[in-house]
């Protein structure tokens, strides 16, 4: 039931999956920034649809969400944004369940998934939707051929793990450490033990939460991951650019450069 575009991203080499919040800090600048991720080597882009109460995010991404919402981002604008994006990699929508649930004339996730499919979205990550509540979205994704990626946490026990793997398609999002999103200076030992536990499962494993440098990327891929997910370290560049009122091209170039470093690190880890 996996989406072929996402399967392809993991086929030959480790997948580099950057995240940005759409519309951070403005619609036009954000288009440039997301396109810079693709130029920097992104294999999949996780594109955040900002929700006002992002309980799984640390301050970096929370601030990005505030900037985006203040910049006028709405669900309707998000779908336009995806349509306007000129990138040749799959896009995974990362958002919170209430926005998915509210969209359209009837309550429930189907109208959102249908619309997402029509604008070219390939899958979803929904941090506040555990397996227990996921059936309606899973069914809608199956109906429209989109992937639903579940997050595996260090606290997830074996029983839950079986269930998450059976529900997940595309890849598993392996949360590298407890807590919320945010760039860190080291690779957690929890990451290695999580990857060891997951080795037996035949689904790509992409590690996120705290990855900041090419060296982190290399170590995580060498530890057995099939991909890396990087958000806060990239969002930091946008935050700094916004604060310094830097030209969009300059910030985009910095994003592209960090992406190149991360992708190179991931490739090195695979050797």
């Amino acid at each position: 039931m996996s989406n072929p575009a996402i399967d392809a991203a993991f086929a030959d080499e480790p997948a580099f999956i950057p995240y940005l919040a759409a519309g951070d800090p403005s619609y036009d600048a954000s288009l440039e920034y997301v396109e810079a991720l693709a130029r920097g080597g992104a294999d999949i882009i996780e594109l955040g649809l900002p929700f006002s109460e992002p309980i799984a995010e640390g301050s970096t991404i929370q601030n990005a969400i505030v900037r985006s919402l203040q910049g006028g981002m709405t669900v309707g604008r998000y779908f336009e944004f995806v349509t306007d994006l000129d990138v040749d990699v799959p896009v995974v929508c990362m958002t919170y369940y209430n926005l998915i649930y509210q969209y359209g004339d009837e309550p429930g996730p189907e109208p959102f998934v249908r619309k997402a499919k029509s604008v070219g979205i390939d899958g979803f990550v929904v941090p506040d939707l555990p397996a227990e509540e996921a059936d309606p979205l899973r069914e809608a994704c199956d109906e429209h051929g989109l992937d639903l990626v579940f997050i595996v946490a260090p606290t997830t026990d074996d029983e839950r793990l079986d269930r998450l793997v059976s529900l997940s398609s595309g890849y598993l999002y392996v949360q590298a450490r407890l807590g919320v999103t945010g760039a860190r200076d080291d690779v957690s030992s929890e990451t290695t033990s999580s990857l060891d536990r997951l080795a037996a499962y035949d689904i790509p494993k992409a590690v996120g939460f705290g990855i900041k440098t090419g060296e982190h990327a290399r170590d995580i891929i060498a530890g057995g991951a099939d991909g890396i997910i990087v958000g806060s370290a990239l969002v930091d560049i946008i935050a700094e650019g916004t604060e310094a009122d830097a030209p969009t091209e300059e910030t985009a170039a910095e994003l592209e450069s960090l992406c190149e470093e991360l992708k190179a690190g991931a490739l090195e880890g695979a050797q």
């Binding site: 929700f51 006002s52 109460e53 992002p54 309980i55 799984a56 995010e57 640390g58 929370q62 505030v66 919402l69 709405t74 669900v75 309707g76 919170y96 369940y97 209430n98 926005l99 649930y101 509210q102 969209y103 309550p107 941090p127 506040d128 939707l129 555990p130 397996a131 227990e132 509540e133 579940f150 997050i151 595996v152 946490a153 260090p154 606290t155 997830t156 026990d157 839950r160 998450l164 949360q175 407890l178 807590g179 919320v180």
Partner: protein
């Protein structure tokens, strides 16, 4: 019988990050064993402590002057006399004790008006547990006495600067802490909100209010009341006093709920109408906190419930003169009871609440919390006879914490019964 269902009709559920789900499972197990089945005598210990440390039972007092004013028998359930000055201790003590039984080493909690934070800090000190409280920056400024009380009881108070700095932001921030520390930390949610089993568990710790009210109304009046009135923000004092009167609810476990015509007891949940019931969708602001009266179904802070949200599903900034009611959501069980027409949601505005705040103080010698003042204001604004002859109002908490805010807000308005507000500087 263990209650394993996570929902109340379409409401409730467990919408939280995966990292928290094992803790939610562990808590569900502990709730069923200790609270529902009294394993290891947990509920016996809880009842003993809420009596000796908390001061239960609280009185059911006839309000003579209000009774005369409204030409009805008005009785006040005096939760303001519970230790700490609010009903909040029932739940805080219950959860901190449960955390202890579960072997947790640290307590965190959010607070709006500070009453839940204060109760949690007191319970944590009483049971010797380290405690950290998250509180919106705006609420820290509105509720300084409670900030001091939390600190004096040994809790660390962390101001939250995101958003408007009220309860919604404090809950989000506490969930973030919990996601980081879940292995040794218990999150004491302060109302009947959040992922299952919190709404049912918090209600069960507060159920003692309605147990006592049923007994006291029979003893003192000879029958159950015609109506029960309680203010509703998240809804914990509301469900506390409603729990054993909702006999047609499948969730009631009142042992004697069929011995009276309970369906005849009308239940009124009084929400904060703020300055207006209209919303500014563009700015994402609702100048009220009336989610039962005006909200729509959505998912926030772990549960599906009635919310103040825009058409996209973004959560609105709410408003109330009372920080304790200033929340964009409400407990899922209450949302269900409103849909079932078992509970009637009503609302009163900021001005009416302030007027009622002064009225109770002047006429009965009881300074109520601004939350409670909303319930009392409903007595004044309600003109038809739906309330009946015999009315119980839950005085959810005392108003000491609100003095500064009440005086400031009163000074800015034309409140007809307000005393002189000038400061004596010489």
């Amino acid at each position: 019988m263990p209650e394993t269902d996570t929902t109340f009709g379409d409401y409730g559920g467990q919408y939280v990050p995966e990292a928290l789900m094992p803790a939610i499972e562990e808590l569900t197990d502990a709730y069923e064993r200790y609270v529902l089945n009294n394993e290891d005598g947990f509920m016996d210990e809880f009842r003993e402590r809420i009596r000796d440390f908390g001061g239960r039972p609280t009185p059911l007092q006839r309000a003579d002057n209000l009774s005369e004013r409204y030409d009805r028998d008005i009785y006040l359930k005096r939760e303001d006399l519970l230790h700490g000055g609010a009903h909040k201790l029932n739940n805080a003590l219950g959860q901190v004790l449960l955390a202890k039984y579960m072997g947790k080493e640290r307590i965190i909690a959010e607070t709006g008006a500070g009453q839940h934070g204060t109760a949690t800090a007191m319970a944590a000190a009483h049971l010797d547990m380290p405690c950290e409280i998250y509180m919106g920056r705006r609420d820290v400024n509105r509720q300084r006495p409670n900030v001091f009380r939390m600190r004096i009881n040994g809790a660390e108070v962390n101001p939250v600067d995101t958003g408007r700095g009220t309860l919604k932001e404090a809950i989000s921030e506490t969930m973030r802490d919990w996601a980081t520390t879940v292995e040794n930390t218990h999150y004491v949610i302060g109302s009947i909100v959040g992922p299952a089993p919190f709404p049912a568990m918090v209600r069960d710790f507060h159920r003692i209010i309605s147990e006592e009210t049923r007994r006291q109304t029979r003893e003192q009046y000879g029958r159950l009341p015609d109506s029960v009135v309680a203010c509703a923000g998240g809804g914990s004092n509301t469900m506390g006093i409603f729990a054993d009167f909702t006999s047609d609810s499948p969730f009631s476990t009142a042992p004697d709920s069929n011995t009276d015509a309970d369906d005849d007891v009308s239940l009124f949940a009084v929400e904060a109408g703020g300055s207006s019931l209209d919303v500014d969708e563009e700015r994402g602001v609702a100048p009220n906190s009336a989610s039962l009266s005006t909200g729509s179904e959505g998912v926030l802070h772990g549960a599906r419930t009635k919310l103040l949200q825009n058409s996209d599903g973004q959560i609105m900034e709410s408003h109330s003169v009372s920080s304790g009611l200033d929340y964009a959501g409400v407990g899922p069980e209450l949302a269900k009871l409103v849909d079932d027409e078992r509970v009637t949601p009503v609302n009163v505005d900021d001005d009416a609440a302030l007027e009622a705040f002064h009225r109770l103080s002047q006429e009965e010698g009881i300074i109520p919390a601004l939350e409670t003042a909303h319930a009392l204001a409903f007595l004044e604004t309600e003109t038809d006879a739906d309330l009946g002859e015999f009315v119980v109002v839950n005085v959810s908490g005392r108003g000491d914490k609100d003095l500064e805010a009440a005086l400031e807000e009163t000074a800015q308005r034309d409140i007809p019964n307000a005393p002189a507000m000038e400061v004596f500087d010489e």
